[in-house]
Amino acid sequence: MPRIPRVRGLSSLQATIAPSCAANRTPFAARAALSTSARVQGKNTEWIRGKLWKGEAPGPADPYTQRMEPEEVSNLPAEAREVQSYAEYPTPEAVEQSRLVLPPRRTEAVTEKELQSLDPSYVPATELSGLEQIKPLQTWWQQPGHWGQESEFRGFAAGKVEDKSVVELYLRRAVIETLALQEAGLLNEWAAKKWPAGERAELDQTLAVEIVVQDGKATLKGDLSAITGRLTSEVEETELAERVSADEAQEIVKAWDASWKEVALNDHYLKFAIRKRVYQLTGRLIPDSKLGAARTAQHLLTLTVNPAKRGKKLAEVLETQSNLSALSNVKVHSRKVGPIDKEIAIGRWKVIEEELSKRGLPVTGTAGLAKNKERDWLSGRA
């Protein structure tokens, strides 16, 4: 009994497969040429093709015998081909309107052969350093020329003034302007509105007004109508004029009598307007709690300019006490004494530093290298 049933059928398998094997197969064109019906059919079916397509039919008349012209075959992957086709489109309208500098479209590099015909002096790079370096897209906005004025934020105030006299100068200007509006009876209407920043000449004109303070009540002497007229005019978005320099402000401030700062600020409108104007001109936002506490211009200045003092450190406190420094075996350090400090104390650190740098080793830290692993291997820990 045969182990596999129908063995005979299996033995004949090879013979049956052989003729249809790829190597033995008759070429397509040859088989088509042998066919007798094809050409006749082509002639006979032309009229029906014409009817079907209503005019000239696309493709060859006989798709079985005639082959279409092979399309241009590209070895590029589908994505790259798509990108190539993008390049033919015009730049989108939004991109053209926007002033942002966007990265260029992807383009395919010219092949070496084509390039040689274009630029005979071209020599292909043989080393990594010979290749052009392109920064990643992550750093696009950090690269020069990409971040423009259109992307810069402009708040209500432009930059913070650090100098004390400059702040005082602009505070006086704010006080004069606000009092002028109050005298004209326009303050309640104009306190919350935006006032034009004004040019340098206008600043000088405002500062020329004299403030006479008697028992906290201020009277202004000067051309007030010009100031109020300027403040209540329509605001145009203008570039903020150059601020007064620190030295110049110091000289101007020195010339004033300090009594102007005794002017009482006891009105909500007055305080609000001064705060707003000082913020606009100096970039210093006076907190509400400080504004509430300030009763005179002097208070406002003190609260604005004086930075909050930090408490003394322990080392600073100990330094002032003489009992510790008098002891011969006690030393006070302002921070923790580390290994480097100890080496510096005995004069060995500069030698260590020199030797390390000579060997190209990091002076401090491990330069991001991992810890000694071999030690763990030897001790059987890892």
Binding site: E150, S151, G292
Partner: protein, 321 residues
Amino acid sequence: MAGKGIGCLAEAMAALRVSATKPATISRTFTRTMATEASVGESKKPATPATPQAILESWNPISTVPLTIHTFPSLEPTSLEQWSVNHLYLPLRRDLLHLAVVYEGDNTRQGTASTKTRYEVHGSHRKMRPQKGTGRARMGTKQSPINRGGGKTFGPQPRNFGTNLNRKVYDKAWRTALSYRYRKGDLIVCEDGMDLVLPTDFELVAGKYMKDGLRETYLKRYMRGVLSNLGLGRAGGRTLFVTGDRREALFEAMGQVPKDGRVLDLEDVDVKDLLETGKVVLERSVLKELIEQHQSDLVSKVVMQGLVKGGPIVGTKILGV
């Protein structure tokens, strides 16, 4: 018994009547407050305080404190309001803040740490080796805690770490935290609908033509610029923004600059969040909502003559739009 009680009451009332008829001057001579009394005689005009600390300490608002409302993101002051001192000018109580922060921390703990005891570890409970005769120690099952792969004795089990805090204490801590930030000048209140305004040039191309992280890196640089311009960035100790709901532009931009601050929804803010960053920027409606939610110690539940005693008025406009 009842008669005796009434007698006591009558006696007490009589005593009251007597004390009421007494001249007030006599009681003053006998009582003395614990506080050090200043001499009334010299009513000198106080000298002008020189230091900022002295100026701030000389200001003791009785009923209300001013609060400026700004636009965002330009931070232009637009209006002024008055808020009750019970809402925004409470004295600093570190103990309350500590209680609130600990309470919040306890209730945020996940409490999902879990280990298996020897009875939960999978496996056979066959005796590992004979009791006697091997020369080794006695040993029971594989799951014994002394074995590797065995159970854990007294290991953590899932539990609730939450603690309780009296509602009135917690609410006072909320207002104390806000008051502390107000006093220090770290509280900036903006108009409702606070959201970041992005440049029009960016808006034109952002949706379709800024890909591969270009949009995110742009927002990062832009938001850094905004924060540094307003003095709210990392140099000022970071900033917390709180909005009523999710504002897409602000949330996306702040997500790019975690080192410069954070932005939270109204529901996600805690007392701890208010105390962490250098500055706190709130919407006006958020501040109002926070105060209204946390004033149980100011609001009475008792109805008297058909009315309930509510808390102080939340924000009255003095000037501005």
